[in-house]
Symmetry: C2
Subunit: 148 residues, 2 copies
DNA sequence: TATTGTGTTGCAAAGTAGTTGCAACAAGAT
DNA sequence: ATCTTGTTGCAACTACTTTGCAACACAATA
């Protein structure tokens, strides 16, 4: 007997459920887009993609859902050095923080994880007596291909 | 014999002059504000302060001058974790990069310089074959006073 | 010191990204 | 099946920044 169309809820969905946050048709669409994104998406891109799943999703709902996920610490917001305008990009929050290198010429984004980054955070938190919630390390420069 | 009112040109002014960039009355006002700022200022604050020196400075000129200084690599742009809206803040670029910790509750900004940061940049540049132009490390969290 | 050419400015208007108020609606608990 | 409370869509709005263009002024040269 096959399960009904209850697709396995993704990480974000189950996180919200665990926290007693109401799941709506629109939220499910938005969450699944963020969850399966292969690059960093901005609000407009999330809207466009979510509408392919549920054409009724509204721009405002996207912004409100992004806000919710940010407040819940489930996604991180990136600027990617404002290389392509002032918009913000989003990604699922993973265990360890990583940095983003954006090529100022071709716009390519390279992600990099380093223990040195973790160490730096620990040091800073201790030395400055500051309790860190989010750390965003963004680098702009030129990738190998664009350095000619 | 006292020098005329030719105030010693600041660092930014002389940098622009060295690069053959035209100095105007308005630019001088804006540069001096950025140069002597004690905190990080956004475009609107720079405008307000510059107008106290030269009431004729226009909003648009502030934006254009900020753009110029950014392109010349003479100032850095900060978001300060968007704690107080979406505006950008600016600061004179100094030799070594430093990080900015913004308190999510009171908005206080702590600056911190660390050799670990320099080391991290070197490592990343090497390992990713990426030539770094700007590195921005912004941290959000709670300062000692706000941690209760 | 007057002239000149090119870069800069101010204004108004438009653009982009994100937010808010509110009535209608729907999730999920009972 | 009902009900409560959180969520949605719409339209209008806010904040911040950019653009087009004619007038202007810096600073190089004569």
């Amino acid at each position: 007997m096959p399960l009904p169309q209850t697709e396995t809820p993704g990480f974000l969905q189950s996180q919200l459920m665990d926290r007693g946050i109401r799941l709506t048709r629109q939220r499910r669409a938005i969450l699944s887009i963020i969850e399966t994104a292969k690059q960093h998406l901005d609000a407009a891109q999330i809207l466009r993609k979510a509408r392919r799943i549920d054409p009724q999703v509204d721009r405002v709902t996207v912004y409100r859902t992004i806000g919710l996920l940010k407040r819940q610490g489930l996604i991180d917001e990136l600027d990617l050095m404002h290389v392509q305008g002032e918009r913000h990009f989003y990604e699922r929050r993973t265990g360890r923080d990583h940095m983003h290198m954006t090529c100022l010429r071709c716009g390519k984004v390279i992600e990099f994880e380093s223990q040195l980054f973790e160490k730096l955070k620990t040091t800073v938190a201790k030395e400055c007596n500051f309790s860190i919630v989010v750390a965003r390390l963004e680098i702009g420069g030129y990738c190998k291909a664009c350095r000619t």
